[in-house]
Amino acid sequence: MNNQMLAEWFKLKRNKTFWVILFIVAGLSALLNYLVIIDWWQMGGTPFEQAGLSEFNALSTFTVPLLFNLIVGTLAGFFISNEFSFSGVIKNQILSGSKRSHIYMSKYLIFSIGAIIVTILIPLITAIIEIILLGYGEILNLSNVLYLGRAFGLFALQLLGYTAIILLLAIVTEDSGKTIIFSVLFTIVMLLVDIFPRPALLNAIYENSIFYQFSSVFNYTMTDGEVLKSIVIALMTMIIVCICGIAIFNKKEIK
């Protein structure tokens, strides 16, 4: 599996879409953070404001499911699905004689690392750099750093559950366009579930899903039980979806 991981990392580093997304996110993040920090754009009601970190308000844009889904879905489409359709290079990977489960998991791990870089690390790093450069560095005290660490750590875990779902979608659709469209549709459905009244059963499912956790993890205060629950939900999603994904991939015929 180590071989497959190295190969996936090599591919990610040379993936044009990954770099385009990375630069767009970096530029967008730098701009939004700047506008928020200089108070040109006054955002309100964000979890960061409630935590007394209004300078980080622009980051809330990147935690909106529709936006990060677009980023993750696009990356999945051009990094994963294209291998099945456009270039067909998945054939070489199967022909290499590696176990399909190893191939699947290496794709999952490297795709997830790529997704975390573009959806979490780049916005967070640009925000921290700008906050320091614009003279607000003192807000990065221990308690705030711990809050940001906990919130984004848990968010990254939920994202790992989400990338598992998107990877599965990308492998099933085998088409970059379909992957992006279906992932957007999927997020819209989750958004509608969030907005509209839910029957008790659906509500119970939703509140114990990563989609609910995406916003909950930014609450300024979370009990140990809530943190544990969040970790369990993310891990369970990851494990269940990956097991399903491997089972599907093991049966999949490569065209």
Partner: protein
């Protein structure tokens, strides 16, 4: 260790209502160049896709390097190199990077082999060129480089001459012969163009509508296709003597049923007839026989052209 590199047992593949492969039994011995011949859609690629693990059989089994257990098949596949249908390449990467990806996937230590393999297939000078700027022929060569990188013991090539010009076809044929001769590489090569495999394969499998109709060695095929006069006389031994003495030719065979196959005098059938009748032999049958390669295969597959 098994003398067979590949054996399939009653291998079948069904796609909804279409039977793509039907009870295929095929065996390839170590060191052979096995030519799989069939029309487009005959089932060649389906068979190769199953052998390489890209697809799964509906029934039957495969034995690769003596391993038939599904968990061990992937290990056996590590000893195989293949191009299936068309070379799968990253268009935005260079030739070198494409091979590097495969090197990493296979876990081949060191990068020295990349340059050597690219040079072997004639891409040494274009290693840094992006694949999107490659011609179809260069892509085929790069696909071959990828297949050869791990120094496989068994090479599977599905229609490798697609996109190659006549010179490229000859070069590929020579390379395959060289690999087989010098490295003892066992090769399974498919084509719908018979003439491409002729002079290359040591054994042929004729596949038609998902079935292997015949497996035949190159020698047997040449024998069957060799033009000859078929002579049946009342005294075969005397007939043979007459051919040797009167017509001064040793180029004939007396078959177990007494028929004589004469490989010379093909255009002088009257001269042969006269020589035999002048020696008081009764000619029961005298005709020109032997197929061309194309007509032989055409006859085997029931008149459909190959």
């Amino acid at each position: 260790m098994s003398e067979y590199i590949l054996r399939t047992h009653q291998l079948s593949k069904k796609y909804r209502n279409t039977l793509a492969l039907a009870d295929v039994n095929l065996s390839i011995k170590k060191g052979e160049i096995y030519g799989l011949i069939g029309q487009n859609g005959a089932g060649k690629s389906t068979l190769l896709r199953i052998v390489t693990g890209l697809a799964f059989p509906s029934s039957g089994s495969i034995e690769l390097f003596g391993q038939d257990d599904s968990s061990m098949l992937s290990t056996a596949q590590k000893r195989t190199g293949a191009i299936i249908e068309s070379p799968a390449l990253f268009p935005n990467m260079t030739a070198y990077e494409n091979v590097e990806v495969y090197r990493l996937q296979k876990g081949i230590p060191g990068r020295d082999g990349i340059k050597q393999t690219l040079e072997l297939v004639g891409l040494g000078s274009t290693a840094k060129k992006k694949v999107k700027n490659f011609s179809l022929e260069m892509k085929q060569r790069l696909g071959l480089a990828i297949a050869l990188l791990s120094d496989p013991e068994f090479l599977i090539l599905d229609e490798p001459t697609n996109g190659l010009d006549p010179t490229g076809i000859i070069e590929l044929r020579e390379l395959i012969k060289k690999l087989n001769r010098e490295k003892g590489l066992t090769i399974l090569i498919s084509s719908h163009i018979l003439s491409e495999l002729h002079q290359l394969a040591s054994r042929y499998g004729i596949v038609h509508k998902g079935k292997i109709l015949e497996e035949i060695s190159a020698k047997e095929l040449d024998e069957k296709c060799r033009q000859h006069l078929r002579i049946k006389v009342d005294q075969p031994a005397k007939g043979a003597t007459i051919l040797e003495s009167t017509l001064s030719t040793p180029d004939f065979e007396v078959m177990p049923d007494g028929t004589i196959k004469l490989y010379s005098y093909l255009d002088e059938i009257r001269k042969v007839s006269k020589a035999l009748t002048n020696s008081n032999l009764v000619i029961e049958h005298l005709s020109q026989n032997g197929d061309s390669l194309e007509s032989y295969f055409s006859r085997i597959v029931g008149g459909d052209r190959i």
